[in-house]
Symmetry: D2
Subunit: 338 residues, 4 copies
């Protein structure tokens, strides 16, 4: 149970709530940094007097703890929030934003070649991992700051916005100096210290859904970021783990129209991880846009067969160009453009 | 391991294969009704001599048992097979076929009203259950033959093709007298006697994917039908069971382009069961068509709030009309029409 | 919503309920064969008057449709029902019942050898498939009646009770002539016509949980059988489909104590299908008994490497003997015996 | 592909491997801190010459990247590693170690009362969260260092070892000053920076399996810790996400004997999170021990109805005492003691 105080409340009003809870033999937890001020009620039991609490001065309303989404929620009539994708593009606007690039930044030459191809095909952002979350500690963990510098050079040459993952709290500052959008990966959607850390800097955050996160958990992860003051959150569906075997993950596209209904955050789709199969990336991109996605995140490499990571699901540049051409009529059917 | 005999083989050739297996201390199982003739090799062990078997007279090739799909497979250049949907429509052709109607046939009046609305909105087929598979034995099990008669009357009045579920082997004859397409439901996809029974009659079969069937199992279920001589099988994706809670099922749309790649059977999508949420049916219909679906199966009722079954996921007629209008640009973007 | 009539109600009382519903603009569905008589209320809406219905003569109570389990439910103080396993054993009593044998009956010699080994190791029942549900139509489908005759001979020689699967309604009579217990397989748990058919004969039924059935669906499947008058139902957990890869299925053992809490039916566990790995069968058998299982169903073959089906998960006879010896202290710890 | 160098290799040998890869137009990634030295081969393609690499001086062998588990693997004849649980107990030895306590440390009084009860019932460790990973940012996040101090006081009074979660890299030092065992929670199993950080300190680490992690990912997470030099890792199964609804998670106990087979790390089970139902905790504890678990992690509170978190799955002290008494015969049956 959350007590939401009125916007004009003071610390004194909050302390009144705490005292009131105390008298009911309950404890109140003051949510750090929340505006309006919030107090969680702990240890609810028979002494809990809801009406008395609701009538306390400056209490706006009580909210069930399982009802999420204070910051990320959509009110009647809300528009999807437009989040900048670098200087020249955005996500959440009429134009579908496409972010393309390799799984890992391998070398300057590699990222520049891919960036040029992505730009020419119509992408607005460049993805590429400098810090890589790997299942095995014996796998390549990324070029780290050098990789970020290569990405920055690619932005210089193409104007593409840089989207790259930040793995740990200690690298948030470093990554935000280079990137236009900080990505929080699927593995880290539940890592609340990282969510808090990216919420305290000002670059937009691309938040990928955990591969077995519920929708509620996904939105609460966005709330962790937004509670720190950074409202530029982009959600990203990338597939969930199921019993299916012909795909790496099951792309759960219904989350797109559901997010549109209950949240005003933009949502994009990653059909590369969402299927793990190059031949499924283009049709599922079409489907994503058809059900309302604001953008796409696609793995592209100039030579997938030699890619250091994710080689089995990566498109080559010609395939990506073809995807972009094929996407256009679906974007138009959705009342949007590329 | 399957031994595939050449088309011109005789019973004598087949018996040679069996004797050959015998000499290797193996057993052969002759697949009933298969053309070309097929022999499964049982009890494989060290004595198995693959080369000798391959060189036997009239042996065409050996196939690993886990490689599915002899009848349902797509060869290079194959077109999707066109399956008739009654006298006036089809599935697998350029036109997207839409089958709409209630979960259960409740009364003559009900089905006629819904059929009229569905027809006007552009549907080509009418769905409606006369035999209902219900979780609880204490739930309404359908009007049975009377329900079929009501459906037939709706066809008379509207020209819509009748698609209705057959639950048990003993009703296959009865249902095929009334229906244009026999539906095998998700619960029964694994019930091989029913698959065999609908394979022995001539009406097309709409085969829904089991809610936790693998793609391989789905195609093998089609093979059970086709092995009996009925090649008019329509596949239908209707969602799988996962950890997701905001939907009744997770609609796994990637199966659509994957089926297009490996099979020549038409595939349609049921976004009503696939999401269980009326507000998700239209966007997921758009997505289904965008990734290549040949048709849709949609629950529609003139008064969903009073529907006897599935009331929470059923569209009313106005919502269905709106869905059909919204679908049109996506059908065009996919190079198809409604 | 179900209306439960009092035990002494007559058809006239039932018709009163139907008329009463009619006056509320609702429809009533009379559940065929239910004792006490049951009427499902269809099309519930604003006119529904719960109190009036509850006060109708001879109405015992109203039950929410999602509250299952009239026949299979446990009342305070109920004992687990004891179901006979042939002439000499049972399931649900103090003694753990173990049913062992091959996936498929392959030959008379095979089944007699395995039966002798199983008997010696302490099994009370012999499993073996004569009608086989196979994913592929090109796989061996069982020796059918000949297989049943081999099983009967094994019973003659060993006294073991015969547990064998019935796949289709048309074979229920045949199988019940040979078997001591009819098995309904995981694939068919949702096939209600088969549940009804085995409910109409008198041999006990071993009902395997569908591999993605909910617990509620599992118990409702038992209700389908019991509603026809056959109360001798044995539940069997055999694993569910999940994302796990090192096992064929995830054995969800918590279902055992949960069934003990809410139902009085005996429940056994199949660790062979539940893991698909021979080395996991013995430890999971111990775990099953430790959390309250009434018995086990285990795949055993005298030469697993040459078994026609399920060779990868089948124990040999020595492994089965070792499992039985290892199980004994756990049965004792659970206050039971073998 | 990993190149494993011989133990006596020098940096010069490693550089030879890198040059050799260079000549094959490949890149080598030197795994930081690995002993023996490891080089991952990146960008494998047609130029890759396996034999040449294997014959390079000081190359021990090549390992497929998907074959995990260098540090955590079990060799023939290995014993399970014994990991200390504070000064007086251990996990992995003959005695089953039980760690009990509340979800959250709420107050000094609360933790002291629970610790006393847990100790009396026979627990060897005390759990309790001072840093809480919460789905919602509006939920109580733990008393942090004050909570750790309360736990330390409970250790002083009872001798119980303190097991408490560390959420973020920045708190590893702080938590390791107070705790006897650092817990990495299910949400953070994939957060590799935290794994690395706890690998660099010397207190044992309790690693909970991610709720949809594969077994391979689970073991690789342990490798991340062990690669830093901390070999005292305790694995913990706590249930996975599936379609099941009567439990909070599906407790996948087969992972216990599988880990015993392939790894020498001890493994314990958390039936509180693994079921989410108090009445299932005791039977699943019995099952866990029966299939080989080295210990248990159980939520206990002196007044669950007023617990601030996880109140619905927590045992009270009497229930915990009863669990411990009931467990004893199963521990003995498994050849162990409490």
């Amino acid at each position: 149970m959350l007590v939401v105080l009125k916007p004009e409340s003071t610390a004194e009003h909050r302390d009144q709530v705490l005292r009131c809870l105390d008298e009911m033999e309950l404890r109140g937890y003051v949510v750090d940094g929340a505006r309006p001020m919030l107090v969680e009620v702990l240890g609810i039991n028979g002494h809990f007097d809801r009406v008395r609490l609701e009538q306390s001065p400056m209490v706006d309303r009580l909210v069930d703890r399982d009802q999420p989404v204070l910051a990320a929620g959509r009110e009647e009539g809300d528009q999807t929030q437009v989040v900048p994708l670098g200087a020249h593009a955005s996500l959440g606007s009429r134009r579908i934003g496409v972010i393309a690039g390799p799984c890992s930044v391998e070398s300057e030459d590699q990222i520049l070649r891919i960036a040029a191809g992505a730009k020419e095909a119509g992408a607005g952002g460049l993805r590429g991992g400098a810090f890589k979350p790997r299942t095995s500690p014996y796998s390549f963990q990324g070029h780290e700051e050098q990789g970020l510098a290569f990405l920055a050079k690619a932005r210089e040459q193409t104007g593409l916005a840089i989207v790259t993952e930040v793995l740990s709290c200690e690298h948030v500052d470093l990554v935000s100096q280079y990137a236009d959008v900080l990505q929080v990966g699927s593995r880290n959607m539940h890592h609340t210290p990282l969510l808090t850390a990216v919420g305290r800097q000002s670059k937009p955050v691309l938040l990928k859904r955990g591969w077995s996160a519920t929708l509620e958990e996904f939105l609460f992860a966005a709330e962790y970021i937004m509670l720190q003051g950074n409202r530029n959150v982009i959600l990203c569906e990338r597939g969930i783990r199921t019993h299916e075997k012909y795909v790496r993950n099951t792309l759960a596209l219904a989350v797109v129209p559901e997010v549109k209904r209950i949240s005003n955050l933009p949502i994009i789709v990653d059909p590369s991880h969402g299927t793990g199969q190059p031949h499924l990336v283009a049709p599922m991109s079409n489907a994503a846009v058809a059900c309302g996605a604001d953008g796409l995140l696609i793995e592209v490499h100039h030579d997938p067969s030699r890619a250091w990571t994710d080689r089995h699901q990566t498109l080559d540049i010609a395939q990506f160009q073809s995807l972009m051409r094929g996407l256009e009529p679906f974007a138009e059917a959705a009342g949007r453009g590329l």
